[in-house]
C-alpha cells in the first residue's frame, strides 16, 4: 500500500513484564478490646511509631470508637516487625494484605 510504512514488530520475550514489580503491601490494624486502657494505647503508639501525642490519640480513639484503626501501610517485613512490637505491649494487632 503506497504511503504506508511497515514498522518492524518488536520482539517480546514471553513471560516478561516491562512494568516494575511492586512489593505487595500490607496494613497493620489495631483492634479494639475492652481491657487495654486508653492512655496506655496512646503511649504504645507513641513508643512504637514515634508519633506525637495528638496523632497517637487520634488513632487510639479510632480503635475505641470504630473497633479498629489502620495504623500503617507498608511492606510485609515492616508490617510484621510492627505487629511484633505492638503485641509485645499486648495490643491486639494484626497485619492484613492491603486491599
Amino acid at each position: 500500500m503506497p504511503g504506508t510504512i511497515e514498522l518492524p514488530m518488536p520482539e517480546v520475550e514471553v513471560g516478561s513484564d516491562p512494568k516494575p514489580t511492586r512489593e505487595p503491601e500490607y496494613v497493620v490494624i489495631v483492634w479494639d478490646d475492652p481491657v487495654n486502657l486508653m492512655p496506655y494505647v496512646t503511649h504504645v503508639f507513641q513508643q512504637v511509631f514515634g508519633w506525637g501525642r495528638e496523632k497517637a490519640q487520634r488513632h487510639m480513639l479510632e480503635v475505641h470508637e470504630q473497633g479498629r484503626s489502620v495504623v500503617m501501610r507498608e511492606s510485609f517485613e515492616q508490617a510484621e516487625f510492627h505487629v511484633h512490637e505492638l503485641q509485645k505491649y499486648s495490643l491486639n494487632a494484626t497485619l492484613e494484605p492491603a486491599a
Binding site: 490494624i29 483492634w31 475492652p34 481491657v35 487495654n36 486502657l37 492512655p39 496506655y40 503511649h43 513508643q47 510484621e80 505487629v83 511484633h84 503485641q87 509485645k88 505491649y89 499486648s90 494484626t94 497485619l95 492484613e96 494484605p97
Partner: protein, 169 residues
C-alpha cells in the same frame, strides 16, 4: 507512688512501703492465661506461616522482661524519712518520707508497663473476659475471683500512675 526525678537517662520513683509490698505481691502471683497470638485475622495462610515466629519472639521478649523486672526490684533501695530535699531533686518533689526508690531507665519503664499490662490481661482472661471489666458490686473477699480482680485493679493503678507521672505533667 511519686515521681522524684526525671531526665534523659530515666526517672526515679518513690514508693511507700505499702506500695512496694503491693508491687512485689503483684508479680509474685502466677501469671494468668494468655490468648494465643495471631499475626493475621483474614489470611489463614499468612497467619499459619508467620505465627510460630511471632510466638517465639513474644516468648523470648517475655523472658527478657522478667529478667529486667528482677533486676529492677534488686536495685530498689530504701530511704529513711528526711526533712531535707534530696540534692538535685527536681519537681514534683523529693524524698522527704520513708519509702523505697525505684530507678527506671526508659527501657525498664517500658518493660514494667508491659509486665503490668500482661498481669492485667492475664487476670482479665482468668475472669472470663468481662466486658466492661468492672468489679461486680457483689464481689466478696471470699470469692474465687477476688485475687484476679485485685490484680486487675492494682496493676491498672501502677500503670496509670507511671503514665500520668512521666508523660502528662
Amino acid at each position: 507512688m511519686r515521681l522524684l526525678r526525671r531526665d534523659d537517662s530515666g526517672a526515679s520513683w518513690l514508693l511507700t512501703p505499702g506500695e512496694r509490698e503491693l508491687l512485689l505481691a503483684l508479680f509474685s502471683r502466677p501469671e494468668g492465661p494468655r490468648s494465643s497470638a495471631r499475626l493475621s485475622r483474614t489470611s489463614e495462610d499468612l497467619d499459619a506461616r508467620a505465627r510460630s515466629e511471632l510466638v517465639g519472639e513474644l516468648e523470648g521478649h517475655r523472658a527478657h522482661v522478667r529478667a529486667r523486672l528482677e533486676a529492677m526490684f534488686r536495685t530498689m533501695h530504701e530511704v529513711p524519712a528526711s526533712p531535707v530535699a534530696e540534692p538535685g531533686a527536681a519537681s514534683p518533689g523529693s524524698a522527704s518520707e520513708p519509702g523505697w526508690i525505684l530507678p527506671l531507665s526508659a527501657h525498664d519503664r517500658e518493660c514494667l508497663l508491659q509486665a503490668l499490662n500482661e498481669r492485667r490481661l492475664g487476670a482479665w482472661e482468668a475472669l472470663g473476659r468481662p466486658d466492661p471489666p468492672e468489679i461486680p458490686d457483689t464481689l466478696s473477699p471470699a470469692s474465687p475471683d477476688f485475687l484476679d480482680w485485685w490484680t486487675l485493679v492494682i496493676a491498672s493503678r501502677f500503670q496509670g500512675r507511671i503514665l500520668s507521672g512521666e508523660f502528662q505533667e
